[in-house]
């Protein structure tokens, strides 16, 4: 990725990365009158969640539908509050009065990229909306940030005047990432960011996220039910089953040496049951093979 | 399941009661906003000792909540004040006008139900034939032409030019004809529109297509598959029309000098006869709420889906 003018600070990952975002013994349960079907189907209850995302690292969260993955994303975005337990950001407790500042540094990327864009607003305006909402900025500064953001995600300027229905799903997801990046966050919470995309585009988006993590020192929480993309992107993995974390550890530990039957069954359910780079190369021969063999240190 | 059904019934009845209380409260607030309630209830020319007695009874020196409760008590007892014009109990005056209104409304609604439902079905089944088009256009025109204008045109044609029917009064069936037709026109147009949409949707559905594929004759499909599924919205509209029976005929009654509640309503509004207006409003509101409740409960009885979902 080229780094254009005024590119925000590049964080270098320290030698021993400290946790940037932590969940401590978090319990959560939806209140009785649930509003959306997703919440009814999705994890209705979380128990004793402990998790930490390290600075500059990609953390994967695997689990079947309804295991509570999206609920964790909601908690980490401050969209709901846990009933018990704590959410720590850079070692400080996340409280309602810190929420606004917190949200500037933790941004989401959602599953359905087109639904995450307002259908009636041009793309350019949507990308700068977070800046306009949060800061009083000169429009030249805005334009510079906007240009930086879209080139960081590999989009060209002509997309800015378009409406969401005029662009493809992959472009839309890049727009979403650009909107998240324009606030220059430390953490991206990616809730199934590639599930709604087709295979080649999935690979492009995964590469983009991986590049961004390296070039900007971003931390990622990558939520997916697709073990292959998690294996490709993440260095640490947690496995969620019915609202509890059943397994957690480095990528190799979890994938190559699964402790629980649940994880084993998940692994068996992957179409090509071998793992790692080899597996990825087989499933998507076009993109995932070429430049990036999974580096040793992730 | 039984307990659930009772629960649904109870919640519906509770909701109706809340609406009823809200309505009475609304009327109370409106009356208080208007000014001195003694004048409002007794009329401008009440004698001073009558005023004193009444404000004592109303307890105007008491806090507003107590006044409100006293008002509720009066409403429940049916004492809504004395009509300025008739010098009688307002509710009694209103009730004495009720039968004629009910006669008119019954005739009009029967007519409307027959023509409206038939027209709606015709418009849905033959959408591109002459009959269907005429029904569709007639239903739009029927909704859009205000009933006072239709009444004038009918009067002009049938009473003045042809001299077949009287222009007003309530002497014989002949004087019933024009008001009933006028009133039926609007209701029938509304019914026809809803029937058309409901039947059309039902006709477009897969189960009707499947029935066609099985070679079932069209009339059987219409009677056994289409109409039962289209019945719910039609019943709702019918319920609304029946519920509005007390005041639905206001305009028509005024125009044809039909001495029913609607006529009384407009003359009372004109002469600012507040107790009578208030009585009519409360009566009409109660009738509407009760009909809605009946329709709701009827659904819960009749619709198999609502029963199974309670299990």
């Amino acid at each position: 990725m080229t780094s254009p003018i005024g590119l925000p600070r590049v964080r270098t990952a320290p030698a021993s990365p400290e946790p940037i975002l932590e969940l401590h013994n978090v319990d959560f349960c939806y209140r009785a009158p649930r509003r959306s079907a997703a919440e009814v189907l999705g994890g209705s209850r979380l128990r004793e969640i402990n998790m930490s995302i390290r600075r500059g690292k990609a953390h994967g969260l695997i689990g079947e539908s309804g295991s509570g993955k999206s609920t964790i994303a909601k908690l980490l975005l401050g969209l709901t509050a846990p009933q018990a337990g704590q959410i720590l950001f850079e070692g400080e407790l996340l409280t309602p009065d810190r929420l606004a500042a917190f949200r500037l540094r933790v941004q989401p990327v959602f599953q359905n990229p087109l639904d995450a864009l307002n259908p009636v607003t041009p793309i350019g305006k949507q990308i700068v909306a977070p800046l306009l909402v949060n800061f009083r900025m000169r429009s030249s500064d805005c334009q510079a940030r906007l240009a930086a953001a879209i080139s960081a995600v590999g989009l060209s300027g002509e997309i800015l005047g378009k409406l969401p229905h005029q662009i493809s799903g992959g472009q839309a997801q890049r727009v979403n990432i650009a909107r998240a990046l324009i606030l220059d966050p430390d953490v991206l919470i990616c809730d199934e960011p590639v599930s709604a995309l087709d295979m080649t585009v999935q690979a492009q988006i995964l590469n983009l996220l991986s590049d961004l993590r390296e070039s900007r020192g971003l931390s990622l929480l990558f939520i997916s039910h697709d073990i292959r993309s998690v294996a490709y992107l993440c260095s640490e993995i947690s496995v969620l089953k019915r609202g509890s974390i059943v397994e957690s550890g480095s990528r190799d530990q979890v994938l190559l040496d699964p402790k629980t039957d649940y994880m084993k069954s998940l692994l068996r359910a992957v179409p090509n049951s071998e793992l790692g780079a080899e597996m990825a190369s087989r499933s998507t021969p076009s993109q995932l093979t070429e430049p990036r063999h999974v580096p040793a240190e992730r | 399941m039984r307990r659930n059904a009772h629960k649904v019934f109870a919640s519906k009845i509770a909701r109706a009661l809340v609406t009823l209380v809200l309505m009475v409260t609304g009327v109370f607030i409106l009356m208080r906003c208007a000014g001195d309630p003694v004048t409002v209830l007794l009329g401008p020319d009440a004698s001073p000792d009558m005023r004193a007695a009444y404000s004592g009874e109303l307890g105007l020196d008491r806090p507003i909540l107590a006044q409100y409760l006293a008002y509720l008590h009066n409403v429940v007892r049916g004492s809504l004040g004395v009509s300025y014009v008739y010098r009688q109990d307002a509710l009694g005056v209103v009730l004495s006008h009720l039968p004629l209104t009910l006669i008119l409304t019954c005739c009009a609604l029967t007519l409307a139900a027959v023509t409206g439902i038939a027209g709606g079905i015709a418009a849905a089944v033959f959408p591109s034939s002459i009959v269907g088009r005429v029904c569709t256009i007639a239903s739009v025109v029927g909704v859009c032409v205000p009933s006072f204008f239709l009444a004038i045109v009918l009067m002009l044609v049938f009473s003045i030019h042809l001299n077949w029917l009287p222009t007003g009064g309530a002497e014989s069936w002949r004087s019933l004809a024009l008001p009933a037709v006028t009133m039926a026109a609007a209701s029938s147009a509304v019914l026809a529109r809803y029937t058309r949409v409901a039947v059309r949707e039902s006709l477009d559905s897969r189960y009707v297509l499947a029935a066609f594929a099985r070679g079932i004759p069209f009339w059987r499909i219409l009677i056994h598959h289409v109409l039962p599924n289209a019945a719910a919205p039609i019943l709702t509209i019918l319920g609304l029309l029946v519920g509005g029976a007390v005041t639905g005929s206001t305009v028509v009654e005024t125009l044809f000098s039909w001495p029913g509640i609607g006529n009384l309503f407009v003359t009372s509004v004109g002469s600012r006869d507040v107790p009578v207006v208030q009585a009519i409003v409360l009566l009409a509101g109660t009738a509407m709420i009760m009909t809605n409740l009946a329709v709701d409960l009827g659904y819960t009885w009749l619709d198999p889906r609502s029963k199974s979902s309670e299990k």
């Binding site: - | 739009v140 859009c144 032409v145 069209f218 639905g248």
Partner: protein, 301 residues
Amino acid sequence: MSTAWPHEWTWNIFQTSKARRDPRKPAKVGLYGASIWIVGCLLIAALAQVISPYHPAQISLDARLMPPLFFGGTLEHLLGTDELGRDVLARLIYSIQISMLVAVGGTFISTLLGVSLGFLAAELGGLIDEGVMALVDMQAAVQFMVTALLVITIFGNSLALFVCLVGLHGWERHARIARGLALTARNRLHVTAARTYNASRVHIYAKHILPACAPTVVVGMTLGLTETVLLESTLSFLGLGIQPPMSSLGNMVGFGRDYLMTAWWIALAPGLVIAATAIALMTISESLRQTGPRPASFNSI
């Protein structure tokens, strides 16, 4: 396929149902005619003072009860004159002005009131939601005509009060629709995304939820406009709405009624204008509804 059907007209049913789904299908001619009529009415309303041939209150006792052109009248009074020799066309133009003012003003107020209450109920939930919905139920339970007559009895009437009263009509439908749409829209991801970048509630409702509701609300507005035109004319006809010396369409029909035998044109002209306006609005509303997204619910026509 068509030969397989037992009756020829069954084929007809499916054919037209397919044609109906085509978004370009709705009758264009009717729509254009309706739009031209409505725009014309609005223009007349805006320019009434300029285009009116006479002052509406100008009395000329020599020319009383003149019939319209083609019915024995003259070019001087195109639509004839009334019992005091006032020009019917001039009065019609001024009446259109008042009626349009009341209808547009009333619809605007009711939409504003309904949509904001619906949004409040959706956003705040809880007791406020229950309260708003109870009010909606109450308003839906009592026919609006009844409410209107009660209010007029108690407060009398002036133009401003009358516009506000008409503006109360139909708010409950807007509130119900807006609440339903807002509840759906706030679960959309772009709203969630806006929340994650600290957008305020006002910002979210103005930029995200209102645009999502707008098409349905506009359809509801055209429908409300139709009803408002009819309501205003009915009340004025009964002598309870617009009061002389101002005249509205319904008001004109009401006074013309006394001269039905001798001068039918006094009542006929405004009556036809009311009916045509209502039909035009209904046509526009229908075609908007067919081309736009399906509205959540319309409880009355």
